[in-house]
Symmetry: C2
Subunit: 221 residues, 2 copies
């Protein structure tokens, strides 16, 4: 069968989408919104979620995090210290999370005890974008230290994201970064998504917190 | 055929390795050493190669660069301005360069007119590591802005690299980064590879320049 590669690849994605749909049913049944956070290695995803978990804890809210890395459990350990219910997935050589890994991780969480679930994907601006995990929304995250050209080089992530975060804005005086160019490149790819400057390490994350607040279950639910 | 996925995946890698071997033969015939530079998005790969190209030009040497990105020709444009012979590969949604893409790019370069060829892989710490391109050596690159935990999270890259570069060392006063932890994690994975602090944007790249100097054709060749 000379064309055998095509159906095999399609089957992998089809199976992923089927499991993602099952995940979505489970999330909705538990009335928990799910955010898929995607950014490059070291853009500050875990620091953002540590800060978010601390805010949640201080308000009596419960944040769940499923976090993917090739190796180590360092991120989950940091998040648990910050008060999150965190599960680490080690992907080995795998460059993204898939729906089945998320399903297995969910088995270790009590969805009914969560107010929000954030999936911190493997640090990679490329591969994670193509895999539905059952999430409600995708958030793309960049850091000013990565340079202003990253949105134009990663159009699929920008196009698919509901929100774009520009982290480490406190480093702007120290790095070459044309913010006007960054914002123009994003707008050309996705005119709807807001772009928020944040500095997670400095706890300057207000627009993000307001955005996720709007995703918490309402008291009437 | 219930097991059809396994042979298909193996065939893809086998074909890549066959083309990589052909690339390697072509590189050796032209007496040009080839370095595969791998680092995350925005760690400073292109800036390093711009600086390298300027040094080469001022010494009458000729640097070739094959550069991979999902989209845009911005990196090749920057490198050509800096004096390199640069070819851009746009991978679309592809997360790494493969040997066939490199073979096609080489067709646009005159190998006999180059003193060194550097392949700037797609900004990604994961997928590029598994694909032989026909290169002689792999160099792994990190940035202090990414945090000190990246080697432990990317063991395959660290294990496979001949040299590890720690870029943006000028930002150390402004970011949380435990250099002792970074170096200990690297040493545990690869005791042979040197780790050099550089600051490409400040033109502080001496150990890297000395290392590639040792890879230039000797006058006797």
């Amino acid at each position: 069968m000379s064309t055998s590669t095509v159906p095999v690849v399609e089957n992998v994605l089809k199976l992923n989408d089927e499991i993602a749909a099952m995940n979505r049913v489970a999330f909705r049944a538990a009335n928990v919104r799910v955010v898929n956070l995607i950014g490059g290695p070291g853009c500050g995803k875990t620091t953002l979620l540590e800060r978010t978990a601390r805010r949640f804890t201080s308000r009596g809210l419960r944040l769940g995090v499923i976090v993917g890395d090739l190796a180590t459990t360092r991120d989950a350990e940091r998040l648990i210290v910050a008060g999150a219910k965190a599960v680490q997935i080690n992907t080995g050589k795998g460059c993204h999370l898939d729906a089945n890994q998320v399903r297995n991780a969910v088995d270790q969480l009590d969805l009914l005890a969560l107010d929000l679930l954030i999936i911190e994907n493997v640090g990679n601006l490329i591969c994670p974008v193509g895999f539905d995990l059952g999430h409600d929304e995708m958030v793309g995250m960049f850091s000013v230290a990565e340079g202003d050209d990253k949105p134009a080089k990663h159009p699929h992530l920008v196009h698919t994201s509901s929100v774009l975060l520009l982290n480490k804005s406190d480093l702007l005086p120290h790095v070459p970064f044309d913010e006007r160019r960054f914002r123009a490149d994003v707008a050309a790819l996705n005119a709807q998504a807001p772009i928020w400057n944040i500095a997670a390490a400095k706890d300057e994350i207000s627009p993000w917190l307001e955005w996720i607040d709007a995703r918490l279950p309402s008291p009437a639910d």
